[in-house]
Amino acid sequence: MKSRLLLRPFLAALSVISLTGAISAAELTLYTQRHYEFDEKLHQLFTERTGIKVVVVKAAAEELMTRLQSEGDRTPADLFLTADGAGLARAKQAGLLQPLPDPAIAAKVEPHLKDEAHHWVGLTMRARVIYYSPDRVKAGELSTYEALAEPQWRARVVARSSSNAYNQSLLASLIAANGPEKAQAWATAVRANMARPPQGSDRDQIRAVASGLADVALANTYYLGLLATSEDAKDREAAAKVKVFYPNQDGRGTHINISGAGIVKASKKAEQASQFLAFLLSDEVQGMIAENTFEYPVTKTAKRSELQQSWGEFKADALPFSTLGEKNAEAVRLFDASGWE
């Protein structure tokens, strides 16, 4: 171990000065926005099975896109992973991705969770739901995202900042469904209904409902799983005090988002990259993700975890991510105008 530690800087220096800059063929480079420790375990498993090493650069999606653009055809990146479908749509639009060499690997993925030209494919799915306190809210009082704008929710709602991609994509879906004027009015009214100014993470919104500060919260599904299995006892208590409600079930369905990936246009390892994606889309790995990060599988064949099953089945809004990507900047503008920080 010690000798390897000493060897690494030496090897790093070698690779820096090597004229070709080429990395060994049995290595895939990921630019990823995903911050899950569990991903590392999946990478190790992939290496064990295929002998292909996985190295990553983790940063924000836009930062990585800026890096991809600067590096151009000389990028070491083979795959680009985001935690937001609109980001993938933007990367495709910027010409940073290439189509899958073998679209069949994504055959089992539901059609609205992948690019029609196979420039990217969803790997995990998450739903943006309403969390509520069963003590203070009856499930019958909840119906749609739109209804959160009604005055009965004054000072009872919490949500995070509009700088967050999940909120932007939710508002983009409301723009697509109801038009920009109504979407802005919705954002203004929900902001007015907030129990406190937007702050913190999705977890903090769930905690706010559990603590009694608010009665309903907008947040993604998997956070409840993460809180329920947290190493912190207070988080586990908080998770027990809230329930999940899937809005808009009688209409277009609950807003969902994906974490997904595309093969970088300049990558010369499209085959290995495709092999990696096929691995992540296998029923086995999809099931492991459902058990560990509590994100939903993107294939119908993979099994949801027991905890996910306890939250119930739901109908998802099938709006294409390319539309969400196109409307993202408009969503930010409407948020700005609505006063939702």
Binding site: S18, H35, P76, A155, R203, E231
Partner: protein, 554 residues
């Protein structure tokens, strides 16, 4: 004001205005020009790209810019106002009084420098949760408006207090060094004239230390303005937060870079002001200053003094480190250890920080010396421009570096290896971002040396190069070592540049801590956070050995 300083600066023969020197090839100038130009490329790239097309800019200026600026100014003013007493009072006490624990406290008070603001934010941002029952009561008893005011005051105030408690050491170090250099005679005269210890402090010592405080305060202000992690956690939308919102949300990098350019312009104005104020300092501190003798405090006052020193230390270091240690303990005992992530490369990361520190410090000494050698506008402007990387968020500097390395890489020059995404490119980015630290300390150090020594050398016929190597550099050793240590500690904590520019698979302690914190795994994240802090505490201990005024006078 400027007359006071120019009167103190005879410009012959050091500035070489005599005709015989004028047409000699100026090696200092060439070195500084070429090196400075290369180092300023990322910032120039940011400014150039800010000139591009920006769909979001107009609505940004119309709707948001005013709010961003007001929030930023409000936060900066509040943090500096809080950091002033937290830094200056202990500095005054440890330099002029004697009390039990003084030497230990004198050292420990610099420790918050080892604590990255984003780590402090993990610890502090969940504190308001404890106040939720009280807030809910305010809402039911006094209505929503009172609740919103209380909630905002709590969050904004806690953020400001936390930043002040982590950043006050810049003021503490500046103030302590100023107080220890002040003339005994001035302070003693004040006391003899019946001013008392408090009067001596407010009427003599504090005004005389003002330039040092302005310099320390400028670092605090820049750190607050360029911070992203902490303000993001607390939901406070400063200009820095606005940059990321514009970039990530609207996908409008140009508008984001324009906001950064605005921050740089503000910084240029602040630096010019600081220069004016510092110019006058020369006039006030005599070269034969004798530090005042430390007065032994009676038991009651000594207890009070210890308390005054303990408050900033407790908020800025002991409490957060205590929390982290507790979480780390919980994590390690639950998991039976801590598994270092696969890509963690602490040794090359430290090596990279050390190499960058060495290069940047030496080059900063050269730039500062060249600017002093001949105070031409280009050289002074170079000094100003090179310091600006510190005024903007690291991610923006990263965009500039990517523009530069990407441009070169895409030329496909034969024999030239890939530059982007390598450790040397990361080192270059570090230097471009943090050059202000060694540069400003080298400038301040040169001012302290006093021109007569160098002038004597030049009069005796030594050329500028030899004067620099034989006279100025040895005398600058202290400030340069201090600069190197401060820079090194900042590089250990560095996050945004490393995140964006690192080679694939390269993790530092800071990126490891950040990654776990973004998963909200606070207990697991406590382990690498403590390691980052420990890696900073050791050099800070060395810094104290070097800087402490007590070293010479005890």
């Amino acid at each position: 004001m400027p007359t006071a300083s120019t009167g103190d600066r005879p410009s012959l023969p050091l500035t070489a205005r005599d005709g015989s020197r004028r047409f000699r090839p100026d090696r200092w100038g060439a070195l500084v020009t070429v090196g400075g130009a290369v180092l300023s490329l990322p910032l120039v790239a940011v400014l150039l790209r800010a000139g591009g097309e920006s769909p979001a800019w107009e609505s940004l200026v119309g709707n948001l810019l005013g709010g961003y600026i007001a929030t930023t100014v409000g936060l900066v003013v509040l943090v500096v106002a809080l950091a002033l007493p937290l830094g200056v009072l202990p500095a005054w006490l440890v330099s002029t009084c004697d009390f039990p624990g003084r030497r230990l406290l004198s050292w420990m008070l610099v420790l918050p420098l080892a604590l990255p603001t984003y780590v402090a934010a993990f610890v502090f941002y969940r504190l308001p949760e404890a106040a939720i029952p009280a807030l809910v009561r305010i809402r039911t008893e006094h209505g929503a408006d009172a609740f919103l005011t209380a909630e905002f005051a709590l969050r904004f105030g806690l953020l400001a207090l936390m930043l002040a408690a982590v950043l006050y050491p810049y003021l503490y170090l500046a103030a302590r060094s100023a107080f220890s250099r002040q003339c005994r005679s001035q302070i003693e005269s004040a006391r003899l004239l019946g001013d008392g210890i408090a009067g001596a402090f407010f009427r003599v010592a504090l005004p005389a230390a003002r330039p040092a405080l302005v310099a320390g305060g400028a670092f605090v202000a820049m750190e607050v303005a360029n911070d992203y992690g902490a303000v993001h956690f607390f939901g406070v939308t400063t200009l820095s937060a606005g940059i990321f919102r514009t970039w990530f949300g609207s996908g409008d990098l140009v508008a984001a870079l324009r906001l950064a350019a605005l921050m740089m312009a503000t910084m240029l104005v602040l630096l010019a002001l600081e220069r004016l104020l510092r110019g006058r300092a020369q006039y006030l501190t005599g070269s034969q200053a004798t530090p005042p003798a430390r007065r032994r405090l009676p038991a009651g006052k000594a207890t009070l003094a210890v308390l005054v020193c303990l408050v900033p230390l407790a908020i800025g270091f002991l409490y957060p480190v205590g929390c982290l240690a507790h979480w780390a303990w919980l994590h390690v005992s639950a998991e039976g250890g801590f598994a270092l992530p696969a890509g963690l490369r602490p040794v090359p990361a430290l090596g990279l920080a050390a190499a960058t520190t060495l290069f940047a410090t030496v080059f900063a000494a050269l730039v500062a010396y060249a600017a002093r050698l001949r105070q031409t506008l280009p050289r002074r402007a170079a000094g100003g421009l090179l310091a600006l990387g510190y005024a903007i968020p690291g991610a923006v500097v990263a965009v500039g570096v990517l523009s530069v390395t990407g441009f070169i890489d895409r030329l496909h020059l034969p024999l030239l290896p890939l530059i982007g995404g390598t450790l040397p490119a990361l080192a270059f980015a570090y230097a471009a971002r943090y050059f202000a630290i060694p540069l400003k300390l080298a400038e301040a150090g040169l001012e302290q040396i006093g021109r007569p020594v160098e002038e004597a050398s030049r009069v005796l016929g030594a050329p500028p190069g030899r004067t620099f190597l034989a006279i100025s550099l040895p005398l600058l050793r202290g400030p340069l070592i201090a600069a190197a240590i401060l820079l090194f500690v900042d590089l250990i904590k560095e996050l945004p540049l490393t995140l964006i520019l690192r080679p694939a698979g390269f993790e530092t302690l800071a990126t490891t801590a950040f990654s776990l914190a973004s998963e909200a795994r606070l207990q697991a994240c406590a382990v690498p956070s403590l390691l980052v802090i420990a890696a900073g505490v050791v050099p800070l201990f060395l810094l104290e050995k070097r800087l402490s005024p007590s070293r010479r006078h005890d």
